[in-house]
């Protein structure tokens, strides 16, 4: 290799060249978006622990040539998931059948490399209904981008697994495995459980009604997304933004619509930081001055034994009801149990510090990495951003309305402002209740009362996610 050859190789491989490739300008836009997100995280302190990581992931993944994350590899992985070896395999008793199936996959590969969409290919197969596609394949192969086809082939031929991703992928592909396997969100939920005091909710179980009502936005946004033409699984993932719970949103989206993980995670964490701006006007508009002035009674003390029994009881009943919540609720309650036993402080401390921080590091940067320009810069992302704020607003409204009902039912003993805290976003939403309450009555301390609906909202979102997973999941 002589000097000119090497220099030219360096130049063409450099990322600067990438900006001049087709669609290269999109990367510039994504880098600008990363900088905006970094400004929001660092300058405006929007949930910085996750948003800084996500933003840096956005930056790294959109530098042309960096090769830290490979969208195509995960697309291939997604495809293979859709392909069902369990049901198909036992039917093959002869090499011919297997070869046939392979031909079908070959066809899929060259069709994709020729620019056909998955939907088109599906339709084609439905028409063919099992006929031999060899000739069509050969015809298509003759005209397609054969490099792209070969590349796709190597990845799809029954061989792309997590181990291949470790082998072929970049650093962020490898870290992303923990997202894909659903491990990171669960471990973060374990830490959340270890940090959460469910005492205020146990003391006033009616808080849970507000925590349930404040999931309104989840289903409202889901419905809206369906109307806008999103498929059910994607609409469910968009809706869960209204749960105002980062790990739950990431978990559900990874399982149902991984291609939309980037925008959904960014929307979820950004709006969580905007809770005061979103909630305060709605709270002032929907409640009367008299309602806002209500001072609530001190709730009863909750004994240590109750706090220990609580996570066990919740695990059993919620998982029995909606088994698909098991990973989220199981981890949340395991963390909470470690917190309350009084004999596992070491583990509780690790769950909420060392382990949670490590996982947060990996989660943030790898979720950010999924925002590849070609996919992120689309009308759909804008719609997700719009639906996300609607979800947050309707969750707030749901909680407030339930608060007003309970104000009536309780004969004015319950301040409806604590209803909006049911959106979870612990503890910010509870602080907002406190702030708005003090505007009307400077001696009103709603914070502890709002913590009840607030932590109930975490459980409520997990149940909503479990329902959507049961409905749209594999």
């Amino acid at each position: 290799m002589n000097i000119l050859e090497t220099l030219s190789k360096l130049a063409t491989e450099s990322g600067f060249a990438g900006f001049f490739a087709a669609g290269g300008w999109k990367n510039l836009i994504m880098i600008a978006i990363a900088c905006v997100l970094l400004y929001l995280g660092i300058g405006k302190k929007f949930e910085p622990l996750l948003l800084v990581g996500i933003a840096f992931g956005v930056l790294l993944t959109n530098i042309p040539g960096a090769g830290l994350y490979h969208m195509g590899m995960w697309d291939a992985y997604v495809y293979e998931c859709a392909y069902d070896p369990v049901n198909d395999y036992a039917l093959y008793n002869t090499a011919q059948e297997r070869a046939y199936d392979e031909m079908e996959m070959n066809y899929y590969i060259v069709a994709r490399a020729s620019g056909h969409t998955t939907e088109q290919i599906e339709d084609y197969f439905e028409q063919q209904a099992g006929a031999d596609v060899t000739n069509d394949f050969l015809a298509l192969y003759a005209t397609c981008d054969q490099n792209a086809a070969n590349d796709l082939a190597g990845k799809l031929k029954g061989s792309l697994s997590f181990t291949d991703i470790i082998h072929l992928g970049g650093l962020l592909d490898i870290l992303y495995i923990g997202v894909k396997a659903g491990v990171y969100p669960c471990l973060i939920f374990m830490g959340v459980g270890a940090m959460t005091d469910f005492g205020p909710m146990i003391a006033r179980p009616s808080s849970m009604l507000m925590g349930a009502a404040a999931q309104l936005g989840v289903f409202f946004a889901f419905f809206g997304a369906c109307l806008l033409g999103f498929a059910g699984n994607v609409a469910a993932s968009i809706g869960i933004i209204g749960g105002a719970d980062g790990p739950t949103a990431i978990y559900l989206t990874t399982k149902l619509a991984p291609a939309f993980l980037g925008p959904i995670a960014i929307a979820a964490y950004s709006y969580m930081a905007l809770i005061p701006m979103i909630q305060k006007p709605l709270m002032r508009a929907l409640t009367t001055e008299k309602e806002r002035k209500v001072k609530m009674e001190q709730a009863r003390n909750v004994s240590k034994v109750e706090k220990i029994i609580f996570p066990i009881v919740v695990s059993v009943f919620v998982i029995l009801l909606i088994p698909s919540t098991a990973p989220l609720i199981g981890c949340l309650m395991f963390g909470n149990l470690l917190r309350e036993t009084g004999v596992t402080e070491r583990l509780s401390d690790t769950a909420q510090n060392a382990l949670m921080n490590i996982v947060t590091l990996f989660l943030g940067i790898s979720v950010g990495a999924t925002t590849v320009a070609a996919r992120f810069l689309s009308l759909q992302t804008l719609m997700i951003v719009g639906l996300g704020v609607i979800a947050f607003m309707f969750s707030t409204i749901g909680g407030l309305l339930m608060g007003k009902i309970m104000y009536k039912v309780s004969g004015g003993k319950i301040n409806p402002l604590i209803g909006s805290a049911g959106v979870s976003a612990v503890p910010m939403a509870a602080r907002v209740s406190q702030d708005v309450g003090r505007e009307s009555n400077p001696n009103n301390f709603l914070l502890m009362h709002a913590m009840g609906p607030n932590v109930a909202g975490v459980i409520g979102s997990a149940i909503a996610a479990g329902f959507l997973l049961a409905r749209f999941g594999g």
């Binding site: 910085p48 079908e104 197969f125 009604l209 989840v218 889901f222 369906c226 402080e345 510090n353 149940i463």
Partner: protein, 119 residues
């Protein structure tokens, strides 16, 4: 033959509406069930707790301390408070009072990472 089913497909308005309403109802059902269970548990505790009445105030003692630091409760996904006490309350309070006095700051503005004694 594998179906290559990549998308769950779009829902029509009816299905979407039914799913949304049903989902909201399931969330309510789940939390109401939980509410009942917790209430029953609370009642069971209260009745069994009357014997252990003398113990209760001691166990509940840390709770009133919490409202003193209204901005302190931990945020999921963000930094949380580390447990305040690992030593009997009295000793911990003493140490904290000494430090607070020397710093001329009210107690609830200081965060003690941990005060531990050998058990």
């Amino acid at each position: 033959m594998n179906t290559l089913a990549l998308t769950a497909g779009r829902l029509n308005v009816g299905d979407a509406g039914v799913t949304a309403v049903l989902g909201y109802a399931v969330v309510f059902f789940g939390l109401v069930l939980l509410m009942c269970v917790i209430m029953i548990m609370g009642k069971a505790m209260a009745s069994s707790g009357k014997k252990a009445d003398t113990k209760a105030p001691a166990a509940a003692a840390p709770a009133p301390a919490a409202p003193a630091a209204p901005s302190a409760p931990p945020a999921p996904g963000s930094a949380g408070e580390i447990k305040l006490f690992d030593v009997p309350d009295k000793e911990a309070a003493m140490i904290m009072a000494i430090v607070a006095d020397q710093m001329g700051k009210p107690l609830n503005e200081l965060r003690f990472k941990s005060i531990k004694e050998v058990k």
